[in-house]
């Protein structure tokens, strides 16, 4: 390849406003995906080598957790230099190469940006503690006592006892909402906001498609409040949004705010202008309720949270997920519900971490293929853009004996070869051991074998992504829950009215019970329409005035298009 393969800016992907509303996201850890240089750790070049696979699968956008320079005391969320790549992952040039290659396949890339804090190894912090009157003296939140902002909760209850830590160099306390080695930036200081917006511009200039903004509720502090979701925080996000809209149209800001939906919608900004803060936000409480609903064989845990979810501005979209690199977070459920989730899904105490469960999708569901399909079908059809987690498309397992949240961060399983095809290194050198147990081990569960088998979970997932792409209703449609007298059935319509007046009308019916179930749906509004099953295009009997009867196998689901079609009998 010539030097053209290393431009300072990646080529652009075809512009498509609001692409994020219909996109399927795929979270991939650079460290865990593919190792190009044989040092036992995944890297940006390795990831670039695997883009053909991701394009084949049908992924629209990659989400990369932080790959910045970092002492790695918090999985890279402790950034020591915002403008450098962690050396073991490669260089900024390697990132541009990855971006360029992704764009050439029509795939976008977003990455995490930690706005709230830096690593204590960051030069800004080192300067700040050394020289209180210097240019960085006011970059962090310093105080003479540890008594301020006492109403703010402690988030990492497993390790931290206070949000203040004493720094012997400067002789003052500094404020941190997360680990004590992650001092919070002082957003009251205009120099900080300017410096952070310059960080945004640095990556946007390279061609990146957006940012997941980590831990956004905590940017500002105010005495007498819980220091979450404060107005100046929203003001700052509006500033970021304006920079993005004016200078880099088509890029997306995705808020990570682990809050109730009614609070999270604030991060979309002003509804009357279609939203003027973040384009997207994660819907955290939905995920544990999907698990709860299926285990209880009742749709109400899901119905309830969706009914409580306010409408969002026109230009915005939820991000939804089943699993990600963190534990299965249970902050947004009641204490009773959390006990229930632990009892159901974390039978071994080692499966718990912080306030959550450290497991992958397949082991959470006892490796039951039907349930994995049902969960994924709901993920792909409920309102919001779905985020897949690397490895879940082949039903990868976890290793709960690894520390912290590493259980779900083991090497991607490409083949039955050494190190699961992830790396050519000595197995002892791997950043984490591969999964090697008899059920989930890479010899059996890997991309190569599932690619060769069209009935595999991998092929199934790919087919569902293809179906999803054909229907705008999934990404853009209204969500309307259909009542059903059978409480184990969750049925809903996704209805998208196109600009030309036509409609894309999709009906999804999910059996949350492990037993076969009947359901009668009142579809008389669509009398005369024919339900056409989306994976096989099979026409079901036409809808009439009477309740429409369907039967579903245990954990079964249907996706239908409700179409007005002429029916033929072959003559």
């Amino acid at each position: 390849m010539g030097t053209d393969a290393h431009p300072r800016r990646a080529r652009s992907v075809a512009p498509e406003p609001e692409w994020f509303k219909s996109a399927v996201f795929y979270e991939v850890l650079v460290r865990a995906f593919s190792d190009s240089d044989g040092d036992g750790t995944g890297d940006l070049r390795g990831l670039a080598d695997k883009l053909d696979y991701l394009a084949w699968l049908g992924v629209d956008c990659l989400w990369l957790p932080p790959f910045y320079d970092s002492p790695l005391r918090d999985g890279g969320y402790d950034i020591s230099d915002f403008r450098r790549v962690l050396p073991e992952f490669g260089t900024v040039e390697d990132f541009v190469y990855l971006l360029d290659q992704a764009h050439s396949r029509g795939m976008r890339v977003i990455t995490d940006l930690v706005l709230n804090h830096t690593s204590d190894a960051h030069r800004w912090f080192q300067e700040s503690r050394r020289d209180p009157t210097g240019p960085y003296g006011d970059f962090y939140v310093w105080a003479d006592t540890d008594e301020g902002y006492s109403d703010a909760r402690i988030i990492f209850v497993d390790t931290e006892t206070s949000n203040w830590t004493f720094d012997p160099v400067r002789g003052q306390f500094y404020w941190h909402r997360f680990f004590s080695h992650q001092p919070d930036l002082n957003y009251e200081n205009p120099a900080v906001t300017e410096a952070m917006i310059d960080v945004l511009r640095f990556w946007l200039d390279l061609g990146i498609d957006g940012f997941r903004l980590d831990a956004v509720p905590y940017l500002f502090e105010q005495e007498g409040t819980n220091c979450e979701n404060l107005k100046p925080t929203h003001d700052f996000l509006r500033t970021c949004r304006k920079v993005v809209d004016d200078e880099y149209p088509g890029t997306v800001l995705l808020a990570e705010a682990n809050q109730w939906p009614a609070d999270v919608v604030e991060y979309f900004g002003d509804k009357t202008v279609g939203g003027d803060e973040c384009h997207m936000a994660f819907h955290f409480p939905l995920m544990p309720r999907i698990f709860m609903a299926v285990r209880r064989e009742s749709r109400f845990p899901i119905s309830e949270i969706l009914a409580q979810t306010p409408a969002i501005p026109d230009g915005c979209q939820w991000g939804i997920f089943l699993r990600n690199h963190d534990e299965l977070t249970l902050e947004m459920v009641t204490d009773d519900e959390r006990d229930y989730m632990y009892a159901e899904y974390a039978t071994d105490p080692r499966m718990k971490a912080n306030i959550g469960i450290r497991r992958r999708l397949a082991p959470l569901l006892d490796n039951d293929r039907d349930q994995q399909e049902l969960f994924t079908a709901m993920l792909l059809s409920l309102p919001g853009s779905p985020v897949l987690y690397y490895g879940d498309e082949i039903g990868m397992g976890d290793n709960i004996w690894l520390g912290d949240r590493d259980a779900v961060r083991t090497p991607m399983q490409w083949s039955p070869d050494r190190n699961a095809g992830f790396s050519r290194c000595d197995p002892a050198r791997l950043y984490l051991p591969t999964i090697a147990d008899p059920v989930y081990g890479y010899q059996g569960v890997n991309i190569e074998s599932q690619m060769g088998n069209t009935s595999s979970l991998l092929h199934w997932t790919r087919r569902m992504l293809q179906v999803r792409t054909r229907h705008t209703a999934f990404g853009l449609g209204e969500f309307i829950e259909l009542g059903a007298s059978n409480p184990t059935i969750l049925a809903y319509l996704r209805r998208h009215r196109r600009e030309d007046g036509t409609e894309d009308l999709v009906m999804c019916v999910n059996n949350l019970s492990r037993f076969p179930q009947p359901v009668e749906l009142d579809l008389s509004e669509f009398a005369g329409h024919t339900p056409v099953e989306l994976t096989g295009c099979v026409q079901f009997p036409p809808i009439g005035e009477l309740p429409y009867l369907l039967t579903l196998p245990g954990h079964g689901f249907y996706w239908f298009q409700l179409a007005e079609i002429e029916r033929g009998d072959g003559s």
Partner: protein, 453 residues
């Protein structure tokens, strides 16, 4: 128009006993005559509203009918056919969407047709264009859903006066109770000189499901499991039972706020016990297997009669069970305040201890747990599993109730008596209607009396 109905008398005499909502199935219908009849629509198809008197010899019952007349009956209405009159096909117009739209239109426009008064509730604006869909699961009344927004209940058997379903809903709505479906409209007319509720229109709760299939889904999960503690099984229902208990307690409080509470003279307990004794007499005549329990049951009732002190009574739901509770995405809602279908209007309106509702729900948990085991040999652990489910959910329900009101278990003598009274009624009912189920209430009688089956 009464002439039309009278002319149809013989046809109706044949047709009425075949209807699910006809209450006097075991009596002979001697004569059917019109009490009133109004033409609601005088063009093809013709719609006639009528209330008929059904002479059963010993008593007369009144039923409300919507009669449609067409020159010929289209195929989709064939199942609603009643007979012929002067070359016209006569049919049950409660199945005819066109006629049901008309009914909604009359309510929406506050119409007066003869003595029939159609009215939306104060301040309610109705959309008359919503598409009607008759609810096919026939109950003791006929229901129609309009566009997933309203549900209309056509009372079939009517008796003179206010229907408690309408009056209690209005009372609860007046105190902004959040555990009911909002009343939206009604149709009234005099019957035997007394203003009478004929039709009730309410908010429809489209995403709701009733408590019975929810509870039975949970039981099914437990029984199909590998055994073990009901609390540890994924399909656990206890959290819902708790919320349901809170709901019933809140509803009782709302009924007290709206309609008051009475602290009765000490004689009330004796009266209550006498009623229970009478119901036992009635049940013994139909279910001889209750005979061996008679002395023990009467002893329980006598203890109620002998209880010292006054009793707090109020209006209650009076026919509460899991099927009367709807789970919506936001909360539990209780429906159908008509009271026990077999009870007299006066019985239904007599204030009573709210523990009677609690007992009704406790019996319902027992049915949910055991009905899947009907016909199963009592051996094996399944009956024990079902018992554990019942215990767990009864406890959760009472805990939920006690969270907002006095613990219903505090007066266990009265609660047990209500439960026994209900179980006795069930034994007699099952003996007649579902003999294979009779073991469910009989086992409850054993449990409540502390005897061995």
């Amino acid at each position: 128009m009464t002439a039309l109905v009278d002319a149809l008398g013989d046809t109706l005499r044949q047709w009425l006993p075949a209807q699910r909502w006809f209450a006097a199935k075991d009596s002979v219908v001697e004569r059917v005559s019109a009490v009133r009849a109004h033409v609601l629509r005088d063009a093809d198809p013709i719609l006639v509203h009528t209330v008929v008197a059904v002479d059963l010899g010993a008593e007369t019952q009144h039923y409300q009918l919507l009669l449609g007349l067409r020159p010929s009956l289209p195929e989709h209405l064939a199942h609603a056919s009643i007979g012929c009159h002067e070359g016209m096909a006569v049919y049950d117009a409660a199945h005819d969407a066109e006629m049901l739209s008309l009914l909604l239109g009359l309510i929406a426009s506050d119409s007066l047709v003869g003595e029939l008064r159609f009215a939306a509730e104060p301040g309610v604006r109705l959309d008359p264009d919503l598409r009607p869909r008759p609810v096919l699961a026939e109950q003791s009344n006929t229901s129609v859903v309009y566009g997933q927004q309203y549900i209309l209940k056509l009372f079939r058997r009517v008796s003179p006066g206010d229907n408690p379903d309408v009056s209690l809903h209005r009372a609860l709505h007046s105190v902004d109770s959040e555990h009911i479906a909002t009343p939206l409209g009604s149709v009234r007319a005099p019957l035997l000189g007394v203003d009478t509720d004929l039709v009730f229109l309410q908010e429809f709760l489209p995403a709701a499901a009733d408590g019975w299939p929810m509870a039975t889904a949970s039981v099914r999960d437990l029984l199909a499991g590998t055994g073990g503690d009901a609390a540890r099984v994924g399909g656990d229902f206890a959290a819902e039972s708790f919320r349901l208990g809170q709901t019933v307690a809140a509803l009782h409080a709302d009924l007290r706020t709206a309609l008051g509470e009475t602290v009765t003279e000490s004689g009330h307990a004796a009266e209550l016990a006498a009623t229970m004794h009478r119901r036992l007499d009635h049940a013994l005549a139909r279910a001889p297997e209750l005979g061996r329990y008679e002395a023990d049951i009467r002893a329980v009732y006598d203890r109620v009669a002998g209880a010292p002190g006054p009793m707090r009574v109020q209006r209650i739901h009076a026919d509460l069970h899991l099927g009367q509770a709807l789970r919506t995405p936001a909360r539990w809602v209780v429906i159908d305040f008509e009271g026990e279908p077999a009870a007299s209007r006066q019985d239904r309106e007599t204030p009573c201890s709210p523990l009677r509702d609690v007992a009704g729900m406790l019996r319902s948990f027992d049915y949910a747990a055991n009905h899947l085991l009907v016909g199963c040999a009592p051996a094996g652990g399944l009956h024990e599993q079902a018992r554990l489910w019942t215990e767990r959910n009864r406890t959760a329900f009472c805990d939920g109730y006690a969270d907002l009101a006095e613990d219903p278990r505090a007066d266990s003598a009265l609660l047990d008596a209500f439960e026994l009274d209900k179980a006795v009624y069930e034994v007699a009912y099952e003996r007649t209607h579902r003999p294979t189920w009779v073991g469910i209430p009989l086992a409850a009688v054993d449990r409540l009396l502390g005897t061995q089956p």
